[in-house]
């Protein structure tokens, strides 16, 4: 599967400091290189994204300073295959 949303992620990183000032802890919705809005919950952001763009890729990102890395040891240890996206 081709990695999608790279462009949106790059746009988020570029404007992250600004978002941290205004929307810390909220979820921002980004489509292509356009900021659509900030939402209290991820569910609200998804609903707004579907209503505006239908079933197309868009980025929902929580505005936090650091970012955690997911751990799935079953994948990490190769007990279950993990090819990335």
């Amino acid at each position: 599967m081709k990695q999608l949303l790279k462009k949106e992620l790059h746009f988020f990183e570029k404007h992250k400091e600004k978002y941290l000032k205004h929307y810390k802890g909220q979820f921002v919705l980004i489509k292509d290189t356009k900021f659509i809005g900030a939402f209290t919950t991820e569910e609200e952001a998804y609903k707004a994204g579907v209503e505006s763009f239908g079933n197309t890729p868009f980025l929902i990102k929580k505005v936090v300073k650091g970012e955690s890395v997911n751990a799935i040891p079953a994948l990490t240890l190769g007990l279950i295959r993990n090819a990335g996206s």
Binding site: L5, L75, R81, S85
Partner: protein
């Protein structure tokens, strides 16, 4: 808060703790498109893809729930995020997808804003595939008791 017990039996119907050791704690699951997307499809008079059935393996080691990418592809759900995940080869970026889970045996429905798309191809128990790894994001809503000597586990939601 109902309690659901899942017993793991041998083919002859006898309880054997080794069956649970072999399979791991499994639940039947049906994965479908998220409610918001189903509502949109209904409004646009589009066909809603049939849910994909398989097993969910409870994985207390996983921080986040993952769904097999082939299931996501078949449902036609588009990504809503990118997350970093540790693998044997280091960190990889993986897309996040919204999804709806139904556990028919327990009558539990969960709408997820984002689950990891992971490769679970080829992992089967009997004739059914493992299509979901249930991580601690889901388990944060459950009470889970693993009874190894008894060969069963109990969940409450």
């Amino acid at each position: 808060m109902p309690v659901h017990n899942r017993f793991f039996l041998q083919p002859d119907g006898k309880l054997n703790p080794n069956v649970l050791v072999s399979t791991g704690p499994l639940l039947s699951v049906k994965v479908s498109i998220p409610k918001e997307l189903a509502d949109l499809y209904t409004k646009e008079k589009k066909a809603i893809p049939a849910p994909k059935a398989g097993f969910a393996l409870i994985d207390t080691g996983a921080t986040r729930t993952g769904v097999d990418k082939s299931v996501i592809t078949e449902l036609g759900v588009q990504p809503v995020g990118i997350a970093r995940t540790l693998t044997a080869g280091g960190e990889v970026e993986q897309n996040l997808f919204p999804a709806h889970f139904r556990f028919p045996g327990e009558n539990i429905n969960i709408d997820f804003s984002s689950v990891l798309g992971v490769n679970l191809t080829g992992h089967k128990v009997g004739k059914q595939s493992i299509i979901v790894l249930l991580g601690r994001d889901v388990l944060s809503r459950f009470l889970l008791v693993y009874n190894g000597p008894g060969g069963f586990f109990s969940i409450s939601f």
